[in-house]
Symmetry: C2
Subunit: 359 residues, 2 copies
């Protein structure tokens, strides 16, 4: 590959913005033994992050090898511009959710060949340095999105940062990245919020019929509206295009339901089934057929431990777990997803140990 280079990440790494993501990057770099320099417009955050062992406050004399700009979406382009100017030898990256807007804003910026955008797919509903963790990125996809003219050594350095932080590098063009996250993140978030919004109009006895389905569909709608408003607005073109497509299909669904067009409705639903199968499985492999084993579990400490101990003894690997929260339940209904061919084995093992289990 022409972008290949022998860059080595030796540090120091400067982190600008010591919130959840920035402090987590700093802690992960410290874990790898790199020197880390911290700065933030909120001096208290730098003090807190320093106290957590994330690095030391940056000084004007420092010469970072790499600057990581981890500020809110609205201030990203400005943060990258300042970093390119303040550290004239450094490679500069950012960890923002949208990649085209900052690149466009930097089009005429001297030194822009030293900027390589990136986006770790990790976060939390919490914020601030106290929520940070050196483990936050372990095993997570980390998009690296060099713009035209980016230095190959800079691209490699940012990939090394992602790897040092435990992430799995996925290299994408900035415009591709933005279309990808519109599809896998921004539009699902927006639609989840719209569906959740329809629940505000319902009476308590109607909402008592809520099962796990509506809880799953609306879970991410609980995220911070101001942060997601910044993120989605920053990706307006890709989100608008995809949301327009979705609106057209919603109109088709509305017509099909209203007109009793059973075939049309089935076709839309079948298209959805195909979509769920397109999401990659664990370890990036193709999705493997799994099936659920459902177990009634008394709702107090220790019972889940007993269940997982018994399940572990069966030798069957558990691919996923859900706990069903229907109201009025005197116990939890736990769903264990296992490979389809292992259902009988797990059921037998659990029933022989006294669990009320079923498919």
């Amino acid at each position: 590959m022409p972008e290949e280079s022998n860059a080595v990440l030796t540090g120091p790494v400067q982190v600008v913005g010591t919130g959840l993501i920035g402090t987590s990057v700093a802690l992960a770099c410290r874990r790898a033994g790199l020197e880390v320099l911290l700065s933030d417009v909120v001096p208290d955050h730098v003090r807190t992050a320093t106290g957590l062992g994330a690095g030391r406050p940056a000084t004007p004399e420092d010469r970072p090898q790499l600057v990581v700009v981890a500020v809110p979406p609205d201030h990203l382009a400005e943060g990258v511009r300042d970093a390119l100017a303040a550290a004239p030898d450094a490679i500069v990256t950012d960890v923002g959710s949208v990649k085209m807007a900052p690149l466009d804003a930097l089009a005429d910026q001297p030194g822009r060949e030293r900027y390589v955008g990136s986006h770790p797919m990790a976060g939390s509903e919490r914020s601030g340095p106290l929520a940070a963790s050196e483990n936050l990125f372990d095993g997570r996809p980390w998009a690296v999105t060099p713009g035209p003219g980016a230095l190959p050594a800079g691209v490699r350095l940012v990939e090394l940062l992602a790897e040092v932080c435990g992430g799995v590098v996925i290299r994408l063009r900035p415009d591709e990245h933005d279309r990808a996250v519109a599809r896998t993140s921004h539009v699902p978030h927006l639609v989840s919020a719209l569906v959740a919004g329809t629940l505000t109009g319902a009476s308590a006895d109607h909402l008592a019929l809520s099962g796990q389905g509506v809880r799953d569909v609306t879970r991410i709608a609980g995220g911070d509206p101001d942060l997601y408003s910044q993120i989605i607005s920053g990706n307006a073109a890709a989100v608008t295009a995809l949301l327009g497509e979705l609106r057209d299909r919603l109109d088709l669904a509305l017509e099909a339901v209203r007109d009793g067009d059973r075939a049309g409705l089935s076709s839309l639903l079948a298209h959805g089934v195909a979509g769920t199968r397109a999401i990659p499985g664990k370890h990036g492999g193709p999705p493997r057929p799994t099936a659920a084993v459902r177990v009634a579990v008394p709702d107090h400490p220790g019972e889940l431990a007993r269940l997982f101990a018994d399940a572990g003894d069966s030798g069957v690997n558990i691919e996923d777990v859900r706990i069903d929260h229907d109201p009025g339940r005197p116990f939890g209904l736990v769903e264990l997803d296992v490979a389809a061919e292992s259902v009988g084995e797990l059921l037998g093992a659990l029933e022989s140990r006294g669990w009320a289990a079923h498919r």
Copy 2:
């Protein structure tokens, strides 16, 4: 309450349609010691259900006290009509997902005062008698939806059936039931399918950025298109009304994103946050603030057991569990939801036992 009566469920209970739900009702009634009679247009299913201990084949001489019609949505009204005629002393109920359509279809039916609709909120992605379980309804909401003129003793008998099967009775008017499930089930399902449908157009490297959010939003879209097409079509009026509202709000979202109306977008997202808070919490109580503790767990049998044993030792109750399936991960990231005030305690307990845990 004027509908109160001293009805007692003594059986026999006849189950018409021995698929997943019908056979599960039969098994639950057998668990309670009731005599159960089975019938189905597919004789093989009756044989299978009989073999499972769900009851015995019905004969023309039988005099059931209660008939439970558990046939596909499209055949429900016909099934109830046949049952009212064939068992002139029996109370008849059904377990369908929609309540107004069969009631309307039975408006001129002699004996319709003996029909009391019901709807257990339980199911599975599997079907047929072999997927059935006597535990299927334990702790689940079970809507009982008497139409005008329904016999009070019949209403009580159907509530007793729900209780015998382990369900939690929620009495609703049939039209209210249909509006409630449009909101808590049918529209979320349809929208989940539409979002999932947008994934079919994406390339593999775009889908590699999929996180837990899009997986949650699209999970229920994996359900059987033909079954959901019957269910949603049977509730066309309520679904159309709510879907129309949702379409209008999608248009607002589209305009807000396209025009850079940050306040409008934030307001829609905040409306979604309010909706997630409207869903009732465990045991029907108000939602309690929970927070997630994230733990890296090697992806092989026994490790989850060790984690839950250590978590159980901490004395902290686990409200929910998720296993994150990001591709490329050499281990699972397990998220444990616990009461917000217990996060520190659980984190401390896990870290002291060597787990890589964070908020």
